[in-house]
């Protein structure tokens, strides 16, 4: 016991590095970019832009991390971004007062997530299938609500949410930070968070240990949907209009960020800070490649390779 109880200083450092691999990768990438293009990369404009651009993905990825921690997926978040954006824009255009319109958007997202969670938990259908169906359905509703046309013409004051700055930092960044901090607290400091992790590690043991697996699952999916609603709002007011096709493919970026950030594909292991770093790394890579003159198509190939490596590392860690 004594021998095992005292990790040597050396191994403690190793563990710190091992636990925070993703942070060091981020720092390394950041330093490299700063060194290669100090003129274009390490500037206030570029960095604030970078943060603004990753905000939507980071918000989605945080929600995705919660459901992935339970061992689920949510493929419908991209579509929910679209439908929530359309609903908020329509509400705002129809004169629903400020906060209420936003609340509607958030609730729409939560409703979609809740339905996902109920279907998964009640019928024990794999989340992959349920949310794939929801991805189609939500996209269809998004087109139906706006009859296929982008929604514009809402009061300009809303644009502050997507385009405004406060103390020199873009507003979406504050929203992203608030989401990340709140969910991190939820995951680390509450019973709900504990249950989420425990279920992801072993669902049957969780049920036999007295955890209400049904409730936890429904709540985690509801939260993921809710955050997709938030992301939809941010995206709509950043772009300045609600497009029915908005958010297509966002679910994959969210999963990628979560996995790069150390979220296990089989559940039970994740960190919200890791996921945010994952989103930052993805953003940093596209930003960096843009600055280095790499065009869009090779960028996709490189991103694909990065995701593959992250998944490979996850699989190898699980086998141990």
């Amino acid at each position: 016991m004594e021998a095992a109880a005292k990790p040597k200083g050396n191994s403690r450092l190793k563990r710190f590095v091992g636990d925070n691999k993703i942070l060091f990768i981020f720092i390394a990438l950041f330093i490299v970019m700063s060194a290669v293009r100090p003129d274009a990369f390490f500037t206030y404009t570029n960095l604030t832009n970078l943060l603004k651009q990753i905000a939507v993905n980071a918000i989605l990825a945080v929600g995705m991390t919660v459901v992935m921690t339970t061992g689920s997926f949510d493929l419908s978040v991209g579509s929910v971004v679209g439908v929530a954006g359309v609903v908020v824009a329509l509400s705002a255009k129809a004169g629903v007062p400020g906060i209420a319109a936003l609340l509607i958007g958030v609730l729409v997202g939560a409703a979609f997530g809740c339905v996902n969670g109920l279907a998964i938990a009640a019928f024990k259908i794999p989340s992959f299938i349920v949310t794939l169906a929801m991805m189609q359905a939500a996209r269809g509703l998004s087109y139906m609500f706006c009859e296929g046309f982008p929604v514009t013409g809402f009061p300009k004051s809303y644009l502050f949410i997507g385009q405004g700055y406060f103390l020199g930092v873009p507003v979406p960044v504050y929203i992203m930070a608030a989401v990340a901090v709140l969910v991190a607290v939820l995951m680390r400091q509450t019973k709900f968070g504990r249950y989420v992790y425990f279920i992801g590690g072993n669902e049957e043991a969780a049920a036999l240990s007295g955890i209400n697996v049904f409730k936890t699952r429904v709540l985690s999916h509801t939260l993921c949907g809710l955050l997709a609603g938030v992301a939809g709002i941010v995206l709509t007011f950043r772009v300045g209009s609600a497009m029915p096709a908005a958010g297509e493919g966002f679910e994959m970026d969210a999963i990628a960020a979560a996995v790069i950030g150390g979220c296990s594909l089989s559940g039970g292991v994740s960190r919200i800070s890791g996921t945010v770093l994952g989103a930052l790394i993805l953003g940093l890579i596209s930003n960096g490649m843009n600055l280095l003159g790499v065009t869009t198509y090779p960028q996709m190939v490189i991103k694909g390779a990065i995701i593959f490596v992250a998944v490979l590392l996850d699989t190898r860690a699980n086998k141990k």
Partner: protein
């Protein structure tokens, strides 16, 4: 027909230092049905896995058809002429009988399957075995017995000279058993040898020509069936002295805490009634698949029931899920800690505290200080050996993992503690620690239900022993009445009425 087809001598196999087989032997003659019996853990499956090439023996000789035989993988055994029919059916439901039989070896030309030949070959094979099943039928539409026959046909289709059957009758009705046995006799007449692992002594006497008894991984003896009777067999199976000391202390047995009346789940167990008292350890004995774990899981709300009543402290309670059970003071350490006990990638702390968070943290937020205090207390009380409560529970040894599960449930201060195989797969030291702990808990007035497949453990620890066979309670023995022979007789259901 006296020539030997398979000969195994001096076979030993250890798994991480523990002997699964020690100097085991087995001799199978051509065209005989050879029963292999022994208690759970006697080494039957390990021996079969060695024949199939799943495991390599550490020592020993094996000859098959007169030649040295060292299979490296199941395919080697199959090609040599050995097939195994597992307890679980391994057929594809959505394919036809013929497709299942020839799977992977379909008659084909130019890469296209010749379905006509496929059907005809299957029909011919089935006819030879006198199995009456339409080869074009989808396997999903067959009965379990018919599926088993398809498995036998498939085994034969590899030109097997030796077929191993692992408890082939466990899912069959009496009539179906008769059909199976007539097919086995057909096989025997064709010169095929059959090794049959079984727990059912009556069937053993009906079908087999010879029997080999294993105990604790060692060979006990082999006999032609005509030279042995049930009583002798049972004593050979269990015939060991209670050499290990069980630290069972006499506890004050008090009033009834839990009473179960007529608990039934169709197909698994029926009309199960029993009671446990304060300070009592109720042992639950029976063979694998007797329904012991299912009964306890259902009692704990882990599985729905079709009927039955549960009373705690004399009051009828409804238990629909484990949360209800926990609220009423039940706790259950499940049979397989990795499968149903622990969240392996999470920490020791989290695995201990999970069931107790509602109590330690009344609000949504965790009271981490209180949680850690309790966790440390339990780690100390059960002397769980770990470096850090935050380390992943999967990094602990089996015995310490089991203590983590125990710690979780003891923190709930249960009235009734259900233990399903509490010492399976853990080393001797941890085992006796857990035994001592169970005894202490009983002395403090806890009612304990302990399922165990190890007879010495049940006999050594229990105040009373409930024996289950075929999903029914066959008898409850007091400590004084319980002997290995008595328990085994009830567990194999060989007690004749009035005997």
């Amino acid at each position: 027909m006296d020539d030997v087809i398979l000969e195994m001598r001096g076979i030993s196999k250890t798994f991480s230092g523990v002997y699964a087989l020690r100097d085991a032997q087995l001799t199978i003659r051509r065209g005989e049905v050879h029963a292999l019996i022994g208690e759970n853990g006697a080494g039957k499956s390990t021996l079969m896995k060695i024949i199939l090439g799943v495991h390599a023996p550490d020592a020993g000789e094996m000859t098959f058809k007169g030649k040295a035989f060292r299979p490296q993988k199941p395919m080697d055994a199959l090609q040599a002429g050995i097939s195994m029919i597992h307890q679980e059916i391994s057929l594809a439901d959505n394919m036809t009988v013929a497709e299942n039989i020839w799977i992977g070896r379909e008659p084909a030309s130019h890469g296209f399957v010749n379905y006509k030949a496929l059907r005809e070959d299957a029909a011919k094979l089935l006819a030879e075995l006198r199995i009456i099943i339409d080869p074009s039928e989808k396997v999903g539409h067959l009965s379990v017995a018919q599926m088993q026959m398809v498995e036998i046909a498939r085994a034969i289709s590899y030109n097997a000279d030796l077929i191993i059957m692992d408890e082939p009758t466990s899912a069959l009705t009496e009539e179906e058993v008769g059909m199976l046995f007539s097919i086995i006799r057909t096989l025997r007449d064709k010169g095929v040898s059959v090794i049959m692992i079984t727990h059912k002594l009556d069937e053993l006497f009906e079908i087999s020509d010879a029997v080999t008894v294993l105990r604790d991984g060692s060979y006990v003896s082999a006999h032609p069936i005509s030279e042995i009777d049930e009583k002798k067999l049972i004593s050979l199976m269990v015939g060991r002295e209670l050499s290990e000391l069980f630290p069972k202390q006499e506890a004050q047995i008090g009033e009834t805490v839990l009473r179960v009346q007529g608990l039934t789940r169709k197909g698994l167990f029926e009309d199960v009634s029993f009671a446990v008292h304060r300070g009592e350890i109720l042992g639950v004995a029976g063979l694998m698949g007797a329904g012991r774990s299912e009964i306890m899981t259902a009692l704990f709300g882990g599985m729905p029931v079709d009927g039955g009543e549960i009373y705690i402290d004399g009051e009828r309670v409804a238990i629909r899920n484990p949360r209800d059970a926990i609220r009423h003071g039940l706790a259950m350490v499940t049979e397989d800690r990795k499968l149903t006990g622990l969240s392996l990638c999470r920490s020791c702390k989290e695995n201990i505290s999970v069931t107790n968070l509602k109590r330690t943290s009344p609000s949504a937020f965790l009271n981490k200080k209180k949680e850690m205090e309790e966790v440390r207390e339990m780690i100390h009380a059960l002397s769980i050996r770990l470096a850090d409560p935050e380390q992943a529970v999967r990094s602990l040894s089996g015995g310490n993992q089991q203590k983590i599960v125990l710690a979780r449930w003891l923190l709930t201060a249960p009235k009734v503690l259900i233990l399903d195989e509490p010492t399976r797969g853990i080393d001797v030291g941890a085992k006796s620690e857990i035994h001592r702990l169970i005894s202490e808990l009983a002395c403090k007035g806890m009612a304990v239900i302990m399922i165990s497949s190890e007879l010495p453990e049940v006999l050594g620890m229990s105040d009373r022993i409930m024996v289950v066979h075929g999903g029914r309670v066959r008898g409850v023995l007091s400590r004084a009445e319980a002997t290995q022979e008595n328990v085994m007789a009830l567990a194999t259901n060989t007690v004749k009425e009035g005997a």
